[in-house]
């Protein structure tokens, strides 16, 4: 009996010992579209954040604590997102990374604010998200008004005088279209056509025919890549050789798959740099590790920006030496200067927007590759 007790005691101590060594873990939430039409973005976001977290954990964690990632699926849908946000908020996360679409992020914003959990969005570019003055909201992606400026500037630089603008009535695409049109008017460029298509349809010939008869010298489409791919393909089939430009939501390799190389060739789009064009050494190392682990590079920059959101949160935990929401938010707003992210250095302004970061212009070449324009 005595021997048994000793054994039990020893076992307890051993168990207790390992328990102590792992210390307490810091829970960080990731809200991402794991299903739905943006599922591929969400899968990349998860893989990137998990790889970064593993890297930090292997090096001993932050301030000695290990990180645990809790993933919730927002389905790319505002209603699902509000449920996902509530689930994450009740699981004791100190901060949340995500999510992709602006309308989806908007549905979760106030929930995190109510629970006082800092949120760092990665693909949500609508201007008003940070204009509401929410204390706990940040984002690593640039805003649409910046994109609108670059779009209008690019159209002017390319020498177009008559332009058509097409959106898809989502809050993101409509906002960008309106920003751009206002700027084009100031530059004296005529908008000869502006309207919205219905996303999810297959046949856009009616819209293309109507646009063609308005006689624009270029078309700026602010919607997402599935529709952009179909537009390019159907435009080619009606023998219309007008240059097409897209907003940053068309930055996805699947665009070329849908349109086909021939129809996609010559398509311009605006975007923060695609992953393989990221200048920082940290990004190059990370992408190499990512490629090694998952066998392919991340599809788009938006997923990489989720990695930046995660790095911003961990930098704040490390810098503030705290996991209290107020400390983290204060640190990110005021004290964080040039934290090292994958897409460059990260600094937030008072509104929670990232400072710096510029849109680039890309062109699709004959092989369907995205080529950075000088």
């Amino acid at each position: 009996m005595k021997r048994f007790l000793t054994l039990a005691l020893a076992l307890c101590m051993a168990a207790g010992g390992t328990g102590l060594a792992s210390a307490k873990s810091i829970k960080i939430g990731l809200m991402a579209p794991m299903t739905g039409s943006w599922a591929s973005e969400g899968q990349d976001m998860k893989q990137i954040v998990e790889l970064l977290a593993k890297d930090i954990n292997d090096k001993g964690g932050i301030n000695g604590d290990q990180i645990e990632i809790l993933v919730e699926d927002d389905g790319g849908d505002p209603r699902t997102a509000s449920l996902a946000a509530q689930r994450l908020a009740t699981q004791g996360v100190v901060a949340v990374v995500g999510t992709y679409g602006s309308s989806v992020t908007e549905a979760s914003q106030t929930i995190y604010d109510d629970f006082q959990i800092p949120q760092v969005a990665n693909g949500s570019t609508a201007v008003r998200l940070t204009e509401k003055g929410l204390k706990y909201f940040f984002r690593t992606c640039p805003r649409d008004d910046e994109q609108g400026r670059v779009a209008a500037g690019t159209l002017e630089k390319m020498g177009f005088k008559k332009v058509a603008v097409l959106h898809d009535n989502t809050s993101y695409a409509k906002g960008l279209a309106e920003e751009t049109m206002a700027l084009l008017k100031d530059k004296g460029i005529e908008v000869v056509f502006s309207d919205a298509l219905t996303p999810g349809e297959r046949d856009y010939n009616a819209i293309l025919t109507k646009m063609k008869s308005a006689g624009p010298e270029a078309v700026f489409f602010t919607g997402y890549y599935p529709e952009a791919g179909l537009l390019l393909r159907q435009k080619m089939e009606m023998n219309w050789n007008v240059p097409f430009l897209g907003g940053d939501a068309t930055n996805n390799p699947d665009l070329v798959k849908i349109a086909g190389n021939k129809a996609a060739e010559g398509f311009y789009f605006l975007s923060p740099p695609v992953p393989q064009d990221l200048p920082a050494q940290k990004a190059k190392d990370f992408l190499a590790a990512y490629q090694k682990k998952y066998g392919a590079a991340p599809g788009s920059i938006w997923a990489v920006l989720a990695g930046d959101g995660f790095l911003a949160v961990t930098a704040a935990i490390e810098g503030a030496k705290s996991t209290k929401p107020d400390d983290l938010a204060d640190y990110m707003h005021k004290k964080m200067k040039d934290a090292q992210g994958l897409t460059g250095t990260i600094t937030f302004n008072d509104k929670g927007d990232r400072v710096g970061e510029v849109y680039k212009v890309y062109k699709v070449d004959a092989e369907g590759k995205f080529v950075l324009q000088p």
């Binding site: 009616a206 008869s213 023998n239």
Partner: protein
């Protein structure tokens, strides 16, 4: 004027597909007085099966593009017809004596079941058809551009519809279908096997829907698991517009809906396209509550 004709051909191409799907709604309604909400998802299934067969068999490498596409179409139609028949057995036949509402709920459930099954089997991402299955040329007539594929879709749709019409009008089996549509009890007394008639309806309708899915895949290239919803809704509208239960009505309704949409987009607003189509539908139903080709052909015999 060029723009008008261009929009007309745009509308006819979309309308041909609506019409083909509408036939499935109209046939099932004609015989069972049931709206088969799962029909749009059978259409999606056709698109997915087509892609799977296409990529796994490599048909067009062996027998030339058009023969390959025809064999493919037959296989897809056969497989979707089998699924349609199973659907009737499991979701509709047990409820045939129940109140109408039960069958409607069962149809909605079947739609959700099919859509989710497709998502779980194939994944949520959209798929892309290979682009070189059929030759992609565009012909120009007086400034109006018509892709060859579009003419092909319209011709195939019209041939299928005409064949179906002749089948129901001129053959013994077709007469049985029409008899069952008028009065199932009386048809039974006349020695018609009503169960077999219903099964036949659930073979033909889904086969046509599946072939429409295949055509959408071949022509537009991009498919995903939710595509059946919007096409199903439009085709259902087309069936009502033409007079539900009436085969030529489904054809007319489908083509008309496509053209209304295209012209609405052209001359009013692109964003209001769908709203315009539905306003026209409501207007026509106020004037002619039975739809354009109102009385069911079956009752005229």
């Amino acid at each position: 004027m060029e723009e008008f004709f261009q929009q007309l051909t745009n509308g006819l191409a979309v309308g041909g597909i609506y019409a083909l799907i509408a036939l499935g709604y109209t046939m099932v309604y004609g015989v069972l007085k049931l709206i088969n909400f799962a029909h749009g998802d059978l259409f999606t299934l056709g698109a997915y099966l087509g892609l799977t067969l296409l990529t796994s068999l490599g048909l067009s490498d062996h027998v030339g593009p058009f023969t390959g596409a025809s064999i493919l179409a037959l296989m897809v139609m056969g497989l979707v017809a089998i699924v349609g028949m199973l659907l009737e057995r499991t979701a509709y036949r047990p409820l045939r004596e129940s109140p109408r509402l039960s069958a409607v709920v069962s149809a909605l459930g079947a739609s959700i079941f099919l859509q989710n099954s497709i998502m779980l089997i194939y994944g949520a991402k959209f798929y892309v058809y290979p682009q070189d299955v059929l030759p992609r040329t565009t012909i120009e007539i007086f400034g109006v551009y018509i892709p060859l594929m579009r003419i092909l879709i319209l011709v195939v749709s019209l041939v299928m519809m005409a064949a179906l019409y002749l089948f129901t009008q001129k053959t013994r089996v077709g007469t049985a279908i029409r008899a069952a549509a008028i009065d199932q009890g009386a048809a039974k007394l006349m020695g018609i096997n009503v169960d077999r008639v219903i099964m036949l309806v659930f073979l033909i309708g889904p086969a046509l829907g599946g072939s429409a899915g295949l055509m959408v895949g071949l022509y537009y290239g991009q498919i995903n698991f939710t595509m059946g919803w919007i096409y199903g809704l439009k085709a259902f509208t087309a069936a009502i517009l033409g007079g539900i239960g009436n085969i030529p009505g489904a054809m007319v309704g489908g083509l008309l809906l496509g053209v209304i949409e295209a012209l609405g987009a052209a001359y009013i607003s692109v964003a209001w396209k769908d709203a315009i189509a539905f306003v026209v539908l409501i207007a026509i139903l106020i004037v002619r509550p039975k739809g354009l080709l109102g009385e069911r052909v079956a009752e005229k015999i």
